[in-house]
């Protein structure tokens, strides 16, 4: 009797162990294809890119690489185009993300109201977010054409100066900010709205009983509870804006007079138009380091605060 139970217990443990073992392997097997793809096409090139930053290499003859150590990073310090691009990237990212967040928050506040037809508004507000970037760029370039672009036609009728804003050294940069804002506000709005909707109604009622008005309730009930989604949205968009290439490249190409040059376009041009792979890679590494530091510090601050 006793031996029988003992044996069956051993058998059962054995079976459980085998099941657990095979489950672990099945878990690995299922995630393997995605992991291989990412490792081969993202992780490996990133590591090679970091390595390349310490070499001199030309796109014309990429297999001939000479080790130059930290030379590229020294070159950067005296490269005025790089410094301008770095400053403009940081400026673009901070200005665009700030405006996006506040506009997204305002849109979220109205989109969460349950007025008739609101779900229709929720959907169509996302159109600018799904458009191809090249379509957005063509649209904005059309809007500000002199003579027939609708914005300039209206400006002309109001007696305001008309100009092809993308070609104006002072206005091209604000136009880039505007496109970043236009494209991404809906994403913030929908995410923040969903986060607001998940706050239990009872918390608002409790706050109201304590005498809190709508503004106070927004500040003390809504804002703290959407801080997690806010953080995710801000981190995502800082990364997106900082690394974004096509919006600038397709609309101004970095001009006029380099006034809209950002790191992504400068790295691309250095690699694929002047063929200096090593120098381009070293600037890419700087971008990577800045984003790593930003994300780590921001997430830490958010966790402790």
């Amino acid at each position: 009797m006793a031996t029988e139970t003992g044996r069956s217990r051993v058998g059962r443990y054995g079976e459980e162990f085998r099941e657990l073992f095979s489950e672990t392997w099945l878990g690995y097997a299922l995630i393997l294809p995605a992991t291989i793809l990412l490792a081969a096409i993202i992780v490996y090139p990133t590591l090679r890119g970091i390595q390349l930053a310490f070499f001199e290499a030309s796109l014309l003859n990429p297999n001939q690489q000479t080790f130059v150590g930290l030379e590229h990073f020294g070159t950067m310090l005296s490269d005025s185009v790089f410094r301008t691009a770095l400053w403009q990237t940081v400026l673009l990212t901070s200005v665009a993300v700030t405006i996006q967040y506040f506009l997204g928050l305002s849109l979220a506040v109205v989109l969460k109201e349950k007025v008739p037809g609101i779900s229709f508004f929720r959907s169509i507000s996302m159109v600018s977010w799904v458009l191809p970037i090249i379509v957005m760029v063509i649209l904005f370039r059309f809007l500000v054409q002199v003579g027939f672009g609708p914005v300039n036609v209206i400006f002309g009728q109001l007696g305001l100066p008309t100009k092809y804003w993308f070609g104006d050294p002072d206005m091209a940069f604000p136009m880039i900010v505007l496109m970043h804002v236009w494209r991404n506000v809906p994403f913030y709005a929908i995410a923040l709205m969903a986060s607001m909707n998940s706050i239990p109604e009872t918390q608002y009622e409790a706050a109201q009983l304590d005498g809190a008005g709508p503004l106070q309730r927004f500040r003390h009930v809504t804002l703290p509870q959407i801080s997690y989604v806010s953080m995710i949205m801000i981190v995502l968009h800082v990364i997106f804006t900082f690394n974004n290439f096509d919006i600038v490249y397709l609309s101004t190409g970095g001009g006029p007079l380099g006034n809209t040059e950002v790191l992504a376009t400068y790295v691309y041009k250095t690699a694929f138009e002047t063929y200096a792979l090593g120098y381009a890679a070293s600037m890419g590494v700087v971008m990577l380091v800045i984003m790593l530091v930003f994300t780590t510090v921001y997430v830490k601050l958010e966790d402790t605060g």
Partner: protein, 303 residues
Amino acid sequence: MATETDAATRSGTGMSLSDRVDAWLDEDMSVRRAIAVYAVLGVFMSFLLVPVIYMVLVTFTGREFLYSSQLIPALSDLTIENYEQVLSRGAFQSYFVNSVVIASSTTALTLTVGTFAGYSLSRFDYPGHDSLLVAFLGTQMLPYVLILIPFFLLMFTLNLINTHIGIVIAHSVIATPLATWLLKGYFDDIPESLDEAAKMDGCSQLDILVRVILPLSIPGIAVAGFYTFTVSWNDFLLVSVLSQTSATRTLPLGLQLFQSQNQVAWHLVLTAAAVTMAPVILLFALVQKWVVEGLGSGGMKGV
């Protein structure tokens, strides 16, 4: 507290601005509130939507109207001539076909690997589980322009430059991390008791995925599929490096060449742009309800 507020309201003095706004909003004025909501919505929509609608309207007018300083077309200005011209261009047709082939293949490949990976992350526990998830999402932080240089060399070595398959692989890799995360979120929402029940009935793990999990995650698959399709359809950067001839050129690249070659043919450039955005807009119309919901529930949950 209540008496304080009452006193303040009655006297009307000594109130801070925010208290006064609160007092005004607190009154039950649903009609006024609704009007305010619609007014704000109107401002946002005219900023976000009117430009797009206006662009589409202009593509249905002739060249003369477009280059005039008129803003509103008369009924007699309307024509589909631009569309006839753009759609009959051989180059445009072939870019369209390339875009469809590449975006659909990318979606199929990404959904397959993403479903397996998402299922693995949702239902299995093994050493390295959490770090794999973080690593997947971490790849989204890398600057593509840095990856692009060695990536180009790698594709060159593999003879995948200027091939459809090379572009499909590149697009799939870009879309896989977020698609996996989205799918994992939806799978997490399906109670594990259903898995247990299916296991009792003799289903294997893969049966559970195919017969229990997938049918219940149609919205998640639709959202992840839409996201992937859009990433591939909209991509310019990767295609600009991987595509060298018109045989692999997709619409965004074709459109960029078109707008620089035809500086003056705005009526055709705008029409080509409208055709380029049409498929993603149509797909979005199909899945919009799930996208709006999904960003709230499945997608935005903690890692």
